[in-house]
Point group: D3
Chain length 186, copies 6
């Protein structure tokens, strides 16, 4: 049940901070929260019937498709509050998107950062989702069966809840270049 899932709170519903006392959805009021540095990392996998590793590395098309998808995701991430009703409009400090092709799949990772009173989880997820859809779009003729899998938050830090990592050991193998870059970027 919800109350057990949110065990540290009294009654389950209270853990849905998007609901007010009468059960109506609302934007969470963040005015009382301190501004802290917050980072969110989201990931997704695009699964294709096309073996990307056999495409010649010098074939320009793949790099172009990936680049298009990255910019698409960055622009979408910055517009999250216009897409998701209860998200706060925030001036995100950076959105980084990485795409790594391998056999039959793309690994997508988006990192959003901000110094604010509210998190950037939805910004990272939105950037990741639209990057993935842009890749699906590019392969629509070659593979109408392409799917997006495991689109989810991977890491978040900052704010009340501190550092949080999704517990998936196998993930290290598909780790992208960005996290290392990120840790040194400020």
């Amino acid at each position: 049940v919800v109350s057990s899932a949110a065990a540290s709170e009294d009654h389950g519903v209270a853990s849905f901070t998007h609901l007010d006392g009468t059960g109506r959805a609302r934007m969470v009021d963040v005015m009382g929260k301190p501004k802290t540095r917050r980072i969110a990392v989201a990931r997704a996998t695009v699964v294709l019937s096309v073996d990307l590793s056999e495409l010649s590395p010098r074939w320009q098309g793949l790099a172009e498709i990936i680049e298009a998808a990255r910019y698409t995701g960055i622009l979408a991430g910055k517009q999250t509050a216009k897409l998701i009703p209860l998200c706060h409009p925030i001036a995100v400090d950076s959105v980084i998107v990485e795409v790594r092709p391998s056999s039959y799949r793309f690994a997508v990772e988006a990192i959003a950062q901000i110094v604010e009173r509210t998190g950037v989880e939805m910004e990272a997820l939105t950037a990741c989702a639209i990057t993935a859809l842009s890749l699906v779009s590019a392969f629509q003729d070659a593979d109408p069966w392409a799917s997006v899998e495991e689109l989810r938050l991977w890491h978040k830090s900052g704010g009340r809840s501190g550092v949080w990592n999704h517990d998936d050991e196998g993930a290290g193998a598909t780790s992208l270049v960005v996290p290392a870059t990120t840790s040194e970027s400020p």
Copy 2:
């Protein structure tokens, strides 16, 4: 290689209609295509650690969350061309989104319809993706581990390629109300 993956076409790269002769991405020119009725259905699953079936059916919050997510998806579907660079801006005739909660998951389905020279696959996928993210957003505090799975095209008809269905027998079990409604809607 791509050419084998797209076996029914002559040369692999040609099957990426978003690429021109020099490998650069572009919007596909659709001016020569006839206007036909086109329908696209996309689906996704939101997987949670919360058992939705145990939430009281009279608890208003869940219905509100679902309704918010549906409208979010409809608005996003209508803005697909602003999010995906190589999509044509089209005046979609309808976008329908359905959400069905069950144990630990939401089934999401989006249907886009148009009479145009270009398809509405990306509109259905975008509506589906943003609906799913809106649901993830609502459960962010209760379950930061929520993920979106199997976001993909499920059915498309109209245009050069006729009717096409994703071959997944198990899908029938989670079939939503909408398809039946749709078939009678015109």
Copy 3:
């Protein structure tokens, strides 16, 4: 009751075309409707505590405020489908906005026209509303009590329901320049 209000229809709820058979809101499917020329006129009044007729006619500020408000309304009218979830995205053929200042009030009128399968009522209403709010915005310091009154549809023609006029004889007195222009414009 609704059914009596919508007396010409069989059952009340059916008259809410934005609802499907299960009571869920949806975009109305317009694919089966013919494309016809459709015109919608909306009006609103902005009521101020400032006597606009005493402002010198040569004072440039008022003309600038009105012009700003008109363009604001036109741009908003073209974006109606992004603001109102169940409106169809349409390529409106023209949006015209007029503003006439008098003592203590602005009369605002917006006309939207299209050749389409769906009407442009919401486009006219949205253009009218945002024009009015832009005027309110300009007088925010001089009159925080400004209000928008009688924002409503005034005329619509085209489509299944033919010509329709709001029954208000007094309206002729505040009739704006636009309608005459409009009737000769095609």
Copy 4:
């Protein structure tokens, strides 16, 4: 009065802070103002020929229409600066919208809050206006005569001018749930 004020350079035009010294409209420069907590409440009434109180309280359609309108208003409130030219783009901390149906009308109330150098009056008014239009849209077939009345600012606090309330004693009777919630939210 404004007309006399407008006759002299000293007071009159200065009250239109959206005009510069030459009478041209501009965004007010707020860089010198302190960041303070600001709250704005706007209200509007949607007047219908349909008696909403006779609709069965269990009829799901009305709740859905209201919910759709609320989200529509929240999304629009966050996009105010894109709609109203001279509004500052601000990262509003919260937008809350309430809708209460009664006989032949909806009472709509929107509350916007921020800690900033500029107010959120237009955000509240825009959220309120688009919520009202979304309700009008839903009843377009049942009642094309629906109108929006008394769309105006109701309360604002914060900034140079302190607390301000619209002087209308009768308003208490139609007071919505939100204000009480709001006063305890930070």
Copy 5:
């Protein structure tokens, strides 16, 4: 000349089709015009203090910057009606953008195509302008003096006025790949 034309009501003002009989700006009513295939080509030059030809052809950064700018321009071209108040919202059939680097400059070309009652000149110009600004943005640190020059329409065909070409013989030398591609694309 326009000044003499503007002196009489007969010819001058009529040439400004964005003005109505009273000199007020408006969207041109296009409902009476036939739908024809229309093509518009716009060009611009970005002038830098950086010799692009000396950058190693294998340096990936330049290709990435160009690709980003191209997609940026395509997305902006599709949103022209939201940026330019009196432009009609149109469902452009294709927007193609090309960028060619040479010594100290980028040549930018945008081609917009549609089958509609109104032209796509502003769509091509907007795509071209935003592509150019995206390039300026990428070189902001290396060259804050970068400028955009000769942003203008280069070719248009379709509609009442037939084929039209800007009379500039020297232009052939900087002709981009796109026109040839375009002529065969339908």
Copy 6:
């Protein structure tokens, strides 16, 4: 020069702050930068075959066209981050646009101001570019040969690099009213 800088990994690429260590474009991370007051001024010239100085100064149309263009530019300037992928979304404190007609040309100037960790150069350039295009749009019928020239940054101050002015003595002659106004505005 950049070409030599680009030859080594140490200095060259670092000057393109939009590229990360691997040559991929990214949003610059600004979280470590202090918030300072930043001002950017951009200018452009619209060149026409129409002698604007011979148009009667009382002819209302020109003032309307200019006013429309100014608002268009202000709205676009506030949406820069949605148009240019690697720009940070910022809550700009003011965008001012001025347009001065003379013989055969319009001088356009846009000033953007903010107290932030990142500059507003692109906001000023975007406001300037779209203002210029809006003017081109208004004269499209009278002069399809209109062009935008010398669109570039003219002044920036604030941030790490202090005050910077474009070195062009002749510019004083076409200096607009705004800079003086600006210096006294905070």
